[in-house]
């Protein structure tokens, strides 16, 4: 088992370096410190959003609403920042994100609705509320203290990148060294077996979706702090890169396999590709096409590997 994981990890690192080398050869400015920090910063935003989704996917679920939930809580944070202290705004935003996740979780775990329908409905509900709230306006110019999250550096490293590694560490510990984490893997690997061995499945699912919503709101903080503005549509194009990061990172969409460490690599690979397309000045209309194709190819590879190893 560990041999396979090791090979998979090396393959991902290999892909990452090959892309980096090709880009470096094609465009020397790619290898500048500034650009590499830029790539890392971009990948941290993808990772923050994808990390919660990774937990849900590990439990054989899916949350299509992460982007819009992020947008909704970001809008509320941006609006509250105009009048309230930063702490209040952030707490309110996190609460909204967690509440959306909680609703998803309850509907999926207790009423037994298919996850992709519930979260697909939630995606449009959250988007609608965000639009209602913002009335198609943009709020910009946040207090300086709030911009700490997205736009400052500590010892030369952007704050979101530091947070990415901290969050990855925390999630790694939770997933591997707590009951909740082990239950997540159990539920994802074999639902029936988990049920019969007394895993509190409903609780685990609800916690996973709530965590996902909470982390989406968390990602929203960094995102709007970075761009210093917020509008209702910021979450729309983010789900595809997140799904791509997760599947490239080796988390199986069939649940029970993978982890947040892989998602970091996936996020870095994704932002390398996006950055590369920008540097090579590829028409931005191609971006969606490329990212969609990457999702499909990486899921296909995942499926292919799963089959190959099932036989042996």
């Amino acid at each position: 088992m560990w041999v396979r994981q090791y090979v998979a990890l090396m393959m991902r690192l290999g892909v990452m370096f090959i892309i980096a080398i090709i880009l470096g050869l094609a465009r020397p400015e790619f290898l500048s410190v500034n650009n590499i920090i830029n790539v890392l910063r971009q990948s941290s935003l993808i990772f923050l959003l994808a990390s919660g989704l990774t937990v849900v996917v590990l439990s054989e679920g899916i949350d299509l609403s992460v982007g819009q939930v992020m947008a909704l809580s970001a809008c509320i944070i941006g609006w509250l920042l105009k009048s309230e202290p930063i702490v209040v705004a952030i707490l309110a935003g996190l609460a909204i994100g967690a509440a959306c996740g909680l609703v998803n979780g309850v509907l999926i775990a207790y009423i037994g609705l298919p996850a992709f329908v519930v979260t697909y409905g939630m995606m449009w509900i959250a988007q609608g509320f965000a639009l209602l709230f913002m009335k198609a306006e943009i709020i910009y110019g946040f207090p300086k203290a709030f911009r700490f999250f997205g736009a400052t550096n500590l010892i030369g490293i952007p704050v979101p990148v530091i947070f990415m590694f901290i969050l990855c560490g925390i999630l790694y510990l939770i997933l591997n060294y707590t009951n909740f984490g082990r239950y997540i893997y159990n539920v994802g690997a074999n639902y029936q077996a988990a049920r019969f061995s007394g895993v509190p499945i409903r609780k685990v699912q609800i916690m996973a979706y709530t965590l996902c919503g909470l982390l989406a709101a968390f990602a929203g903080i960094f995102y709007i702090s970075r761009i210093n503005a917020v509008e209702a549509g910021i979450g729309d194009p983010l789900l595809l890169p997140c799904l791509a990061a997760i599947t490239i990172g080796g988390t199986s969409l069939y649940g029970g396999e993978g982890g947040v460490g892989g998602t970091i690599l996936g996020a870095i690979i994704m932002s390398l590709i996006i950055n590369g397309m920008n540097l090579l000045s590829i028409d931005s209309y191609w971006h969606q096409f490329v990212i969609g194709a990457i999702v499909i190819i990486s899921v296909w590879v995942d499926q292919f590997q799963a089959k190959k190893f099932q036989v042996s």
Partner: protein
């Protein structure tokens, strides 16, 4: 006995029928203009493309799948149609290309899902990016306006006093009906939705039929694209955005479910009427379109809850 019979009849009526009745009463109360021929024909025009997509989605959902890419596929086919029309290709050729392109893209979804056993919502979500991306690349993000009278006849012409669009819709409904209830294809749609393993074990090429279901759904999207492009007298690369959501909502509200191939095309058509009237009602109340989307999302989730609880 009587009571049991009543219960059975009651269980057969989809949630949409009650909702539609309620909405019709509410709409006639809040708006004097609801029952005018102008408004009703307007609703019909809005509903036609949606209804065709919903019929396609019915096939897919009956077979335990989902197609999130049908909206973007409408955009892609529409854009290709527009380009070909401006190149001077005749009407029959354009119609053929649109339907075949839809079928090809749909089959691409289907083969990935059936042959490579990838989850339908991921494949079609990835292809949503691919199709949107292609449409954007072809048009460079702008819309292509202005077509010949002959092409505009598809959406604005009348035959014997009936709008040609409605005749197409009736034809597509008949096609769906015949496909589902009078061909082996239809039998296997229900079979794959009910128990794919069993269908496979009796020696049916389930992979072929499952791919074909998505192919047929794609060709429906091609027909929808022709009507859409003709009605708007322009092709825009994002015109189909969100259409798949309304189609899925209509089908679910119309009583189709993923378990054991429950549902029928009639329910889906009632669902389409419900969604269209709901949006019309919200329009009359002066609620912005973005928020209407949230309303439809909430409605979708309520309908799934209703059907799930009813089934218990």
């Amino acid at each position: 006995m009587e009571r049991d019979k009543l219960k059975k009849v009651f269980k057969k009526i989809p949630a949409a029928a009650f909702a539609l009745l309620f909405l019709l009463i509410t709409c006639s109360l809040i708006s004097k203009h609801f029952w005018t021929t102008e408004n009703l024909s307007n609703l019909g025009l809005q509903g036609t493309v949606l209804a065709i997509l919903a019929l396609a989605q019915t096939l897919v959902i009956l077979a335990e799948g989902i197609d999130l890419s049908s909206g973007p596929l409408v955009s892609l086919c529409g854009v290709v149609v527009a380009v070909l029309l401006h190149k001077g290709i005749g009407l029959p050729g354009v119609i053929l290309v649109s339907i075949l392109l839809g079928a090809a893209c749909g089959s691409f979804n289907g083969i990935l899902i059936a042959k490579f056993k990838m989850p339908p919502f991921v494949v079609t979500f990835g292809n949503m990016g691919v199709f949107t991306g292609l449409a954007l690349v072809i048009t460079q993000g702008s819309s292509i306006p202005g077509f010949s009278e002959a092409f505009r006849f598809i959406a604005s012409g009348y035959i014997l006093g009936f709008p040609f669009m409605v005749i197409i819709l009736v034809f597509m409904t008949l096609v769906t009906y015949v496909l589902l209830y009078h061909t082996t294809f239809g039998t296997y749609v229900f079979g794959i939705g009910g128990n794919q393993e069993a269908v496979h074990l009796i020696g049916v090429n389930d992979v072929f039929f499952k791919s074909a279901i998505y192919g047929v759904a794609g060709s429906f999207a091609g027909v929808g694209a022709l009507i859409m492009t003709s009605r708007m007298n322009a092709a825009h690369p994002l015109v189909g955005f969100g259409l798949e959501f309304e189609a899925i909502a209509s089908v679910i509200v119309g009583g189709c479910s993923w378990t054991l191939a429950n549902g029928n095309p009639w329910g889906s058509l009632i669902g389409v009427a419900t969604i269209v009237v709901l949006k019309n009602g919200l329009n009359v109340l002066g609620i912005p379109p973005a928020v209407q989307v949230a309303g439809v999302g909430a409605f979708l989730i309520l309908a799934v809850i209703y059907d799930t609880l009813k089934g218990k």
